[in-house]
């Protein structure tokens, strides 16, 4: 079983990193030929950085758009972020002070994340227009994340697992030295789902995470009159 999970995680990590890198490079090298920021937009680069910061951290546009989705989405993502920070303890030895400090908050973050996910999922059934736009993959993605959260919380509060062993397994993985993985059904499900999440990440709507940084309506400076903006393929048109 340990070997199986080891292989699974190596494959998942390779696909995740490789796929994501490919996508990011692809986004980056595709030109944006015209200035299309959604205005009013910042007129300076620091302004754009600040706008992007507000979008990524506070979901500013979503806040304007729909408070329910915002609240549920913020609970989920904020919870997720804390949980992930907390999880770094399985991969870092010694555990940095900051991460150790975040541990107690992380516990509640798991609940926050699960509650957000459940709320978002409920919307997909209850709100007619969201039901209309939902695909199977939208449901499955939420199911997957909710399973991860539920098994994680289960291990935390119901049926403990040997976290020291888990850490040894992952530290070993990173050193290409496979250690035994504690036998625990919750852990198996948790890890299998995490691996699946990593596998689908570069091929799914989870690309919203890198995508937001490349969105021309959000990352462009509103200065078309002051600076000439020309994509390489558009410049070629001028030559003839």
């Amino acid at each position: 079983m340990s070997l199986l999970f080891a292989i699974l995680f190596y494959v998942a990590a390779a696909v995740f990193v490789g796929g994501l890198a490919y996508k990011i490079v692809d986004f980056a090298r595709t030109p944006a030929p015209l200035k299309i920021p959604t205005t009013p937009a910042p007129i300076s680069t620091p302004g754009v950085a600040f706008r992007m910061f507000r979008e990524v951290v506070f979901f500013e546009s979503l806040f304007k758009g729909n408070l329910w989705i915002w609240a549920l989405g913020a609970a989920f993502h904020f919870g997720l972020a804390l949980v992930l920070v907390r999880h770094l303890r399985y991969f870092l030895e010694p555990v940095p002070a900051l991460i150790a400090f975040a541990q107690p908050f992380g516990m509640y973050a798991g609940f926050m994340m699960a509650a957000g996910l459940a709320g978002l999922w409920a919307r997909r059934f209850l709100v007619e227009r969201i039901r209309y736009i939902s695909t199977y993959s939208d449901h499955l993605m939420l199911a997957l994340l909710l399973t991860i959260a539920a098994t994680g919380l289960g291990m935390k509060f119901v049926m403990h697992t040997d976290v020291i062993g888990v850490k040894a397994f992952f530290l070993g993985l990173m050193a290409f030295d496979i250690q035994p993985l504690p036998a625990h059904p919750g852990l198996y499900i948790h890890l299998a789902c995490v691996a699946l999440l990593m596998l689908v990440f570069p091929f799914s709507k989870l690309l919203h995470a890198p995508g937001i940084f490349f969105s021309p309506t959000r990352n462009q400076t509103d200065n078309p009159r002051e600076a000439r903006h020309l994509a390489p393929w558009a410049a070629k048109l001028e030559k003839n």
Partner: protein, 513 residues
């Protein structure tokens, strides 16, 4: 027009999200362009007889666009189906057709993108909502990509800034590439190339119209306000939508532009070569057309030797001018390539290039160079409709949001009574007039009327509460659309007009005693 009578939906006291009415407007379609219209633009005249050929061409074009436009590529991938945009489109609000929800409009293309360009869609189409491109899908594109006014309202609220307008443009571009163009827009583009403007008004007729206008203004004011055409050596080239030359109420603003230049003592001219500020190349998402149409302005500017380029009241034209002209034609500043520098060294760097007529007028007001008798506008209680392309696709002045303030500052400088509509219906959240983006054609009257619903509701409120009787706007399409649509909602057609119409009414030309 034949067909069932078009009725305006009832105004709602408490606007809520409409219940879904699947396929409510699936059959509202604009006329397809004929071969005679398509071919001169370099598009196939009609759909190929063999479906496979059309299919391959469409997918091929889509692949090219995905490589050329980061917007399209990122937007295809990034949407999480969160639903924040679903209730933001005026066409959805007015029709209840779920395919008019911005995300659903995107999904018409995204489903095809997934099928042909992503591993998930190739392997598990049902799972991710991917589908083959069929004739039915293409027809659906034609319906719904011509029921979007490219107003960008949805992009304001999307957490990733996904702009459905970009996807609509790509959809129309693909449709053109397979010979399935829209008559209205493509016919107009043809006219610009042949005659110089959207309305097909030739140079001599233009000169005639404007000299008639000079006489009218003389009779009215006793002043020799000039409306010159092709005057070499003028300081300012004014490029304005061709509707401004004779349509009502557009012409009232044209009169206003002339009076402003007259009162300020600025020499200016129209151009017969660039007698159109509008650029329908943007509506059809075709870079070549966008580029070619814009070149006419560059050429006119070089030939006339003007120092400044100013754009009249037109929403999408201002977006093209403000955001794209520097890219397309070098009208702007900050270039270091010979093509753009040739023009930029001719233009006066002390002024914004291009400038909006409202920027010009507001600058002059601030410098104290214009005098007004505000009471001349006292019969009007004014509100202002922000046009989408100005609001969400451009700017005026020196700071973000100047495009909202400057027209309002002008109105308040020339009229005593002004009331804004509800805050969630103006500014960056403004609702489209319902006729922008290439849908201003009679066959689409049904969705034009329904799409105007949210704006009409907001208007009704200020009419009831404040007695508003004049809705000012700075867009030729808004003016034309509202003139037609206001009566469906029980308002007078003449209630809409330009900001420079108000300026024209109040301005003192220096000969008053």
């Amino acid at each position: 027009m034949a067909g069932p009578e078009i009725k305006a939906p009832a105004l709602r006291e408490f606007p809520t999200v409409p219940a879904l009415q699947p396929d409510a407007t699936a059959d509202v379609k604009c006329w397809v362009a004929s071969e005679k219209i398509q071919e001169p633009l370099g598009f196939p005249g009609k759909l190929a007889d063999d479906w496979q050929e059309t299919h391959d061409r469409a997918i091929g074009r889509m692949g090219e666009l995905l490589d050329k436009y980061r917007s399209l590529k990122v937007f295809m991938d990034a949407c999480v189906h969160c639903g924040a945009c679903t209730d933001k489109c005026h066409y959805f609000i007015g029709t209840g057709d779920p395919k008019n929800m911005p995300v659903a409009r995107q999904d018409l293309m995204r489903s095809v993108y997934r099928r042909y360009f992503t591993p998930a869609g190739k392997m598990f189409p049902q799972l991710v909502g991917a589908r083959d491109l069929t004739r039915e899908v293409l027809d659906e594109w034609y319906s719904y990509y011509w029921q979007c006014s490219e107003c960008r309202r949805c992009s304001v609220f999307c957490p990733y800034g996904i702009d459905t307008a970009e996807i609509t443009m790509a959809g129309r571009e693909i449709l053109d590439a397979v010979g399935y163009g829209q008559k209205y827009s493509n016919e107009i583009i043809g006219k610009v190339h042949r005659v110089g403007n959207n309305l097909g008004l030739p140079g001599p007729a233009l000169i005639d119209t404007l000299s008639g206008l000079e006489e009218d203004v003389k009779d009215d004011t006793g002043c020799d306000v000039r409306y010159p055409v092709d005057e070499k050596g003028a300081e300012v080239l004014l490029v304005t939508p061709s509707a401004d030359f004779f349509a009502e109420p557009h012409i009232e603003s044209t009169i206003g532009y002339g009076k402003v230049f007259h009162a300020a003592g600025i020499s200016w001219t129209f151009s017969s070569m660039a007698s159109e500020a509008g650029n329908f190349g943007m509506f059809i998402g075709n870079y070549d057309q966008l580029h070619k149409i814009a070149q006419r302005v560059r050429q006119a500017a070089l030939e006339l030797g003007v120092k400044r380029i100013v754009v009249g009241e037109c929403g999408h034209a201002w977006r093209v001018a403000y955001a794209f002209w520097n890219t397309l034609t070098g009208i702007g500043a900050g270039a270091n390539d010979p093509f753009a520098v040739e023009l930029q060294k001719q233009l006066d760097p002390r002024y914004k290039q291009p400038a909006h007529i409202c920027e010009v007028t507001w600058d002059l007001i601030q410098q104290g160079r214009l005098k007004f008798d505000k009471s001349a506008n006292d019969h009007r209680i004014v509100t202002f409709h922000d046009s989408c392309n100005v609001a969400r696709g451009s700017r005026m002045g020196d700071y973000a949001g100047g495009q909202f303030d400057i027209p309002r500052h002008i109105i308040k400088a020339v009229a005593n009574k002004f009331h804004d509509m509800a805050p969630e219906t103006i500014g960056e959240r403004t609702f489209c007039c319902g006729g922008g983006g290439g849908v201003l054609t009679d066959e689409l009257m049904d969705i034009r009327v329904k799409g105007a619903l949210p704006r009409m509701e907001a208007l009704q409120r200020v009419v009831d509460d404040n007695g508003v009787n004049f809705m000012a706007t700075i867009c030729a399409i808004c003016k034309a659309q509202f003139s037609k649509v206001l009566p469906y909602y029980g308002f007078k057609s003449g209630m809409v007009g330009g900001v420079h119409q108000l300026v024209s009414t109040a301005i003192q030309l220096g000969n008053e005693q």
